[in-house]
């Protein structure tokens, strides 16, 4: 079964290469892209089942043994993240097929989509910090091009901010890698973890801590945390809808994932301390949700909400108890699905109403009630209304805060939830409930064809399923959290006899 460990990277690579060859044959390309996405989901499901029974799947590329070769490691968290990546990629590819006019899509979209998925999945399964960096770069390079695919002026403006801030983060990441390698002589995560534990035991963790803080800054920029989030709302509303849905679902979460690995595996046992992360997480929650309140564009509001939701996950990491980490993992599962779906629904609504600016929209509830319902499922879930998935995610974070008696964190989390509800209802009232500003507003039959809604229906079904089956799913997340909090299990799986 360990032969499948590389598959989350290989399947997108094959799909991307073949889609590049098929760039002149639009129909074939779309078809192959969808088939590739489906295979990715299948592979991810297989891995998830397998990892649930055998805890860790490890494969050393080229048969070079860890810590010298490139190691791929899949634990429960990585497996579930790979599955979510595949789902988001499939939704985006599917949407681009049935919801956009043929001419609206560049032939480079599908190859870039799969290169991006390859980078994202690679970041989740790699067991080596340098390869994490490489996967970040694969992901970023694809995303740079995807941002400006249509070559509009506003896209270029957003892309400049996005590229500059992300390159800064890459530079910091690379500097930290250099420092760490000079100090530790290894970049294998399991190997570093051993060294970090020894260093803490002997009270000489200072240099490691410096490298760790640099990693934290680099990952915080990628995750869109306060005070580094400016690139996100500047760029996410400019590309075409499937691209921004993909970005919204996945990119910041790779940063969150890297922060989880940093705090549980690479620098375990509080080498870094959790206070900074806790304060930054709460600040991220609040600034994100307040930033959204001042916006009038659908995707702009949603972009600011990505930031505030990242705040919840970071708070989960910072509290660091088994319950908090389980809630953080649950939050990731819930958030990726919901956020991509909101961007897709928002894109359809903006397309039908003729504008993304909420002042120029309206009347969508009467024009297309089904779309309204499809908006409400992820929107209510995002705000944490039971019985949707977001309620259980927020409940987990809040109860973890209560458990540790961090009342100010609990208060901030609850207030952020209320403000999220406000923003979601702002979109609801402005785009769906009030009358459309132009009196003769009607949807053309091809605009409101049911076929366009399939990807959103699928994602909404997943959201409802996460809500209904939150018990077993939360149990899985608890197991994932326990696995994260036991770095020695990971070290043993990677380095085996060397311990």
């Amino acid at each position: 079964m360990n032969g499948l460990v590389a598959a989350p990277m290989l399947v997108p690579l094959v799909t991307a290469a073949v889609c590049t060859l098929l760039r002149r044959m639009a129909v074939l390309q779309r078809g192959f892209s969808l088939v590739g996405s489906a295979v990715e989901i299948g592979v991810a499901l297989l891995l998830l089942v397998e990892v649930n029974s055998s805890d860790y799947l490890v494969s050393n590329m080229g048969n070079w043994q860890a810590p010298f070769g490139i190691t791929l490691v899949i634990d429960r968290l990585a497996a579930v993240m790979v599955l979510l990546t595949a789902l988001t990629g499939a939704a985006s590819a599917w949407y681009s097929w049935i919801s956009l006019p043929k001419s609206a899509l560049s032939p480079a979209f599908h190859p870039l989509l799969h290169f991006l998925l390859m980078g994202v999945s690679g970041a989740f399964i790699t067991g080596d910090l340098f390869n994490l960096y490489v996967c970040f770069e694969i992901m970023l390079l694809s995303s740079f091009v995807m941002l400006v695919l249509e070559g509009k002026a506003e896209q270029t403006e957003g892309a400049v901010k996005y590229v500059v801030l992300n390159l800064m983060s890459s530079t910091i990441f690379l500097t930290a890698l250099g420092l760490l390698y000079a100090k530790a002589g290894t970049l294998n995560m399991a190997d570093i973890s051993i060294l970090a534990q020894e260093a803490v035991a002997e009270h000489r963790a200072g240099p490691l801590r410096l490298g760790g803080l640099l990693f934290m800054v680099a990952f915080a920029i990628k995750a869109g945390m306060f005070p580094f989030f400016f690139w996100l709302p500047a760029s996410y509303h400019t590309p075409s809808v499937p691209v921004s849905a993909l970005f919204a679902g996945l990119l910041t979460k790779v940063g969150v994932f890297a922060l989880i690995r940093l705090h549980t595996l690479i620098m375990p046992n509080d080498v870094l301390g959790h206070e900074i992360l806790l304060v930054l997480g709460v600040a991220t929650m609040i600034t994100g949700v307040l930033g959204a309140a001042g916006q009038m564009g659908i995707r702009r509001i949603l972009s600011f909400h990505i930031i505030s939701q990242v705040g919840y996950m970071v708070v989960g990491i910072a509290i660091g108890t088994p319950l908090a980490l389980a809630a953080c993992v649950f939050y990731l599962c819930h958030h990726i699905v919901v956020k991509s779906n909101l961007f897709l629904v928002g894109g359809i609504a903006a397309d039908c109403a003729g504008s993304e600016d909420l002042r120029k929209t309206g009347g969508m509830w009467l024009a297309w009630p089904l779309l309204g319902l499809l908006y409400l499922v992820p929107a209510l879930s995002l705000s944490g209304i039971p019985p949707f998935s977001g309620f259980f995610a927020k409940l987990g974070i809040v109860s973890a805060g209560v458990e540790r008696e961090l009342w100010w964190v609990v208060a901030a989390a609850l207030a952020t939830g209320a403000f999220t509800l406000y923003s979601m209802f702002k979109i609801w009232i402005e785009a769906f409930w009030k009358d459309h500003p132009s009196s003769g507003f009607r949807l053309a039959p091809e605009q409101r064809s049911f076929v366009r809604l399939w990807p959103m229906l699928a994602l909404a079904a997943i959201t409802i399923a996460i809500g209904l089956m939150s018990g077993p799913l939360f149990h899985f997340c608890e197991e994932a959290a326990l696995q994260l909090l036991n770095p020695n299990g990971y070290i043993h799986a990677v380095l085996g006899g060397r311990l």
Partner: protein, 164 residues
């Protein structure tokens, strides 16, 4: 503005075959000695760029036969196949599999790392040619004497009236 292109054009006929041969040499010796797919690919791409500068980008594209983007995709697939031969024999992805043969005076050795290098070679040739040709076609350095893109040549000369 005009480049001394007569020298370049004459030399090009000698240099391009030489560059291609050396690039293949670098590709083949790369596993144990300096060289490899990346260095070889860069040198082959240099040959493509030389043709684009001395003649025209169109001529360079004709010489490549395949579209540079196709080369990238093919290279990726070749490298992937090289990686997948290992798993077919039950080992991890990218594990090297070697074929060795003593045939009289010759000792023959080839394996998946060479195939992987060929993939890298193709990707590098494709990628560098894409960048160079796109840039050259958008803003030609050398004035085009065959008249393939007269409008652009004019605008370049119009933009820089001082003859230097």
């Amino acid at each position: 503005m005009k480049l001394p292109s007569i020298i370049l054009r004459v030399m090009q006929h000698w240099l391009v075959p030489l560059l291609v041969v050396v690039s293949l040499f670098l590709l083949l010796r790369g596993h144990d000695e300096p060289g490899g797919g990346f260095a070889g690919g860069l040198m082959a791409a240099a040959a493509v760029i030389l043709v684009a500068l001395a003649e025209t980008p169109t001529e360079a594209r004709r010489l490549l036969r395949l579209h540079p983007t196709t080369l990238i995709a093919l290279g990726l697939l070749v490298a992937l196949v090289a990686g997948l031969i290992g798993p077919l024999t039950g080992k991890a992805f990218l594990t090297a599999v070697w074929l060795k043969a003593d045939v009289g005076l010759f000792y023959f050795k080839a394996g998946t790392p060479l195939l992987f290098d060929i993939g890298v070679y193709l990707v590098v040739v494709g990628a560098v040619s894409t960048f160079a040709l796109e840039i050259e076609e958008a803003a030609p350095l050398a004035p085009d004497r065959t008249g393939a893109t007269p409008a652009k040549t004019d605008s370049v000369e119009g933009g820089a009236p001082s003859k230097s």
